[in-house]
Symmetry: C2
Subunit: 237 residues, 2 copies
DNA sequence: AAAGTCAATATTTGCGAAAATATTGTAAAT
DNA sequence: ATTTACAATATTTTCGCAAATATTGACTTT
């Protein structure tokens, strides 16, 4: 008889089919369904996603490239760990990618680009609630927030810069989800984006870039003020 | 730490086998062993690399994230296609990543960083031959060239920027291999790098960045002067 | 005790058959 | 001649077992 090792029965089976397995696993990781650095045992995943070994290994292999999963030969896959240092690295890389892309967008963007930003900003404002009562509200807000950032660089004309921004943002979201978002003062957050949008539309490249650099530290600061890093055994250097 | 107190009596085949399959496939693709956009049939790869389906699919899945392979569900994998537009995109993204990393390196680099650059420049100069008579000469030159670029940004302090640079460089190399490198005037090429090294060591950030931006167009220009794009059916807009 | 040995167990990795899906080729209908 | 239908073929994709490797634990030796 197979011996029961440790069951990970906290989360029920994920069923959403028709969606590629890779997307499903990615969503689970970003959502934080697995603890950071958790081992991803094949048997567990097989049961959870109700597929065989091959598709799972393939999906995880893809997610390595997205920075969400790590791999060591013969020792399997694990969720990418979280640390303050890593978050700083993400913020750094995002600044590099996103400022370059924004600069180009500001140079080349037409009125369609402008309209996209205005629309995204509107939706983001509308979806910023007083409080996050349920998960749907949070997800809706997050989606509009990320869409605004995407709209701002939408005219950069580089598929690679766009893809990199998306990838780094996914990695960033894992950290954002660690804080009870209540802690993020909504008014201030909205104002920052309004400022950023304004600068972009006025084609004030340098100022917009400076704003992004500042903006990217929000998550770092918020997490520093919580006591999250201690939980991960981080020395927070 | 895996301790090996008693040796295995038969040392396994160390030839190709010690190298992970992913690295072998990547090398083949970068080398141009498969034509751009070529379909990668499972049976073919299985025969070529002498492994089963699973390891191949896994390796290819990883290479998607490196931008060397494309995938379409139920239609399999293919080598990432090449085009002038794509090369411009790579150059663009490289400028974004590499200038950000170089700027930070110049700000934070210590004498160890400087020494690394000087050493890399020396080796690069030594390995630049009058003519590329055989493949080994080419590979040796390429390695030293890429190592110099890595050394320049080595003190940027961001593992993500370093990884991105490496990844984009791999993609870039596929294009560089298209030209008979003879066409690249060696003296000019060396001089450009000497200039770049000089500016970096003198901590002239803005000038060094401008030099990189200019430098990144070399491959584009060289390929434009050849008639490569027509071969790919490119309109070369 | 502490460290080493070795068997028992757990887990990952590779393999090829079989299922699922796409592509091609042929013939009938418009 | 062009399109449609459908069978025949080719290819991808999944699955579970078996092999390879890592981990655990009980037992011996120093």
């Amino acid at each position: 008889m197979a011996k029961r090792t440790h069951l990970q029965d906290s989360e029920p089976r994920v069923q959403d089919d028709g969606v590629p397995l890779e997307a499903r696993v990615r969503a689970e990781i970003i959502r934080g369904a697995f603890p950071p650095a958790a081992r991803l045992r094949m048997e567990d995943l097989k049961a959870r996603f109700e597929v065989g070994f091959s598709p799972i290994r393939e999906a995880l292999s893809r997610l390595i490239g997205e920075g969400l999963v790590e791999f060591e030969p013969n020792r399997g896959f694990r969720v990418a760990p979280l640390s303050r240092e890593d978050l700083l690295d993400i913020a750094l890389a995002r600044v590099a990618v996103e400022t370059a892309a924004l600069k180009r967008s500001i140079e080349h963007g037409d009125d369609r680009w402008e309209a996209g930003i205005v629309a995204a900003m509107h939706q983001y404002r509308r979806r910023s609630p007083i409080a996050f009562t349920n998960e749907a509200t949070l997800l809706s807000w997050e989606e509009s927030h990320d869409a605004l950032h995407a709209a701002l660089i939408g005219a950069c004309g580089s598929s690679r810069l766009l893809a990199l921004q998306r990838r780094l943002q996914d990695q960033h979201v894992r950290y954002r989800r660690l804080i009870v978002v209540k802690e993020v003062a909504q008014e201030v957050h909205i104002e920052e984006h309004e400022k950023l949008v304004e600068l972009a539309l006025e084609r004030r490249s340098a100022d917009a870039i400076a704003e992004i650099e500042r903006h990217m530290m929000i998550t770092v600061d918020a997490l520093d003020q919580s006591s999250i890093w201690e939980k991960f055994g981080e020395t927070a250097g």
